[in-house]
Amino acid sequence: MSEAYWGLEQDLKTTPLYKIHNNSGAKLVPFAGFYLPIQYENGIIAEHNHTRSSASIFDVSHMGQIKISGPMIYDAMEKILPISFSKISPGQIKYTQFLNSEGKIIDDLMITRSFEEDHVWLVVNADCTDKDLDHLYNNLNKAYKIELIEDRALIALQGPNSSNILKTFFQEIDEMPFMTADWFNYDNEKFFISRCGYTGEDGFEISIKDRYAEKFISKLLQSEGVKLAGLGARNSLRMEAGLCLYGNDISSSVSPIEAGLAWSFSKERIENGGFIGHEHIKQDLDNGVQRKLVGIKPLGKLPAREGTQIFDKNEKTIGQITSGGYSPSLQAPIAMGYINSDSLKNNCEVLLNVRGNLIPAEIASLPFVEHKYFRGNK
C-alpha cells in the first residue's frame, strides 16, 4: 500500500494534553509542527457521531492565540480587518480574515472585543501564526503590544451537550450566546471561554494555562457524555458544516468573495474602505468573481479528495475540489470546491475525475448539515 500514514516525525512540539492523548489510545500525527491526535481508539466515524449526538473534547492548542493592546485599538485594527467595531459589542466574537493588498486571504481568524476595552484577542491558524505576526508588526506601529500567548492551551468542547457539561464548572455559561466570550474563574484559575467552534454544533473554546490543562481536561472527561475526538473528526465535522479550511479551501491566492465569505464583511466598511485589500474586494463584489466555492455531492460511494478535477459533460475542466471526504452524518461522500461562475450560471452537469473514473456529482448548498448554534434565550 502507498505510504500515506506511516511517516516518521522529527522536532515536533507537544501540547499540554500529550499525556492524556497517549493514555487514551491516540494515534498521534505531525500536524502544524505538533504531535496531535488524528483519532483515538474508537475511530473517526465514532468520534464524529459522538460529537453530533453528545459532546467531544478537541485539543486545538496548536492554534495561535494573540493579544493586541494599545491606544485607539479599534481604529488600528480596522485598518487591517474589514470589520466595524461600532457594530461589535464588548465580549462579542467576529469571524474575519487578514487580507493582503491584492484582497486575497493571508489567514482567517476569530477576534474578540474585550470587556476591558483595551485589547482584542485573536485565534489564528497554527500554520499561519508566524506570517500573521509579521503582518501585524508591519501594519501596527510601536505603540501596540502584540503578544503571542504561549502559556495557554486551547480546548474545544463541541456538541449539543457541551453547555450542560460546562455548566457544572461555570454556572452562568449556558446563558452565553453563540459568538461571545468571557473570563471565568474555577479552582483559582482564569479561563477565557468563547462560545464558538468549527463543527457546526453548539460548543465552546476554552483557553487555560498550560499547567492546569491536563487537570481540567481529566475532570471534564469524568462528566457523562463527553469523549475525546481527534483531527480526523474535526475535519469531517467542519466539512459537513461547510466551513473553510485554510490551506485547502482558502489561501493567499483566494479572494474571500470567491470563498463565499462576503457575509463576514461589514457593509459600511465595504462602502467606506480604509482596510488593506479594500479596492479588490469592492471590485470583486461589483464585478463578480470568476469562480465560486460550492458544495459538491459525488453520486455513489467513492470519495473525491482535494485536487480532484471537476469537468463539465464535455470533459472540459471547470473547477477543482479543495476539500473532500466521507460524511459520517450523511453516510456518503461530500466535497467543497471552486467552479467557474459561468458554468455555475448554466447549471451544467458536473463530473469528477477520480483517478480517471468520471463520477457524476451534484452541486449542493452549504452547509451539508444544519448549524445548531445557540443564539440566546429569547
Binding site: 500500500m1 500515506a4 500514514y5 467513492l302 479528495r305 466521507y326 483517478r355
Partner: protein, 123 residues
C-alpha cells in the same frame, strides 16, 4: 494447504494451487482507520507485481494497494462494495480484496513469511 505471504507494503496473499487471495493486513487496516470505500480491480485485468491494483479510501485518505504478485484477476470481493467496513473488522478473512491467477510462482520467494512481516512492523 494454503500458504500466506506478506509484502513490506502491508498486503497479504494466501496461495493455493497457483491461485492467490489478496488483502491488506490488520496493521494496515488499523493505521488507515475507518474504511469507507474500496476500489477493486475488474475480472480479467492483468496485475503486475508491485503495481497499484486497488484503492482503499478511509475517512482520512486514499491509499493504493499494490499487487503482491503478477497474474490475472479472477474475482473481486463484491461484499466490499456494500460493506467496506469488513476490511477493518476481518482484514485477513472476510475483508479480502481479489483472487488472482498467479503467472509466475517464483515471485512468491520475494515475499515475507508471517514471522518476517511481524518483525517488519515491529521495527
Amino acid at each position: 494447504m494454503a500458504e500466506i505471504y506478506f509484502t513490506k507494503e502491508h498486503e497479504w496473499i494466501k496461495v493455493e494451487d497457483n491461485v492467490g487471495v489478496v488483502g491488506i493486513t490488520a496493521y494496515a487496516s488499523e493505521q488507515l482507520g475507518d474504511i469507507v470505500f474500496v476500489e477493486l480491480p475488474e475480472e480479467g485485468i492483468i496485475a503486475e507485481i508491485g503495481k497499484d491494483i486497488a484503492v482503499v479510501e478511509s475517512v482520512k485518505a486514499a491509499s493504493e494497494v499494490y499487487s503482491p504478485v503478477s497474474g490475472t484477476i479472477i474475482k473481486s470481493n463484491e461484499d466490499l462494495n456494500s460493506t467496506p467496513e469488513i476490511v477493518n473488522e476481518d482484514p485477513v478473512g472476510k475483508g479480502w480484496f481479489y483472487e488472482i491467477k498467479i503467472s509466475n510462482n517464483d515471485e512468491l520467494s520475494g515475499l515475507m513469511s508471517e514471522e518476517e512481516y511481524q518483525k517488519h512492523i515491529g521495527d
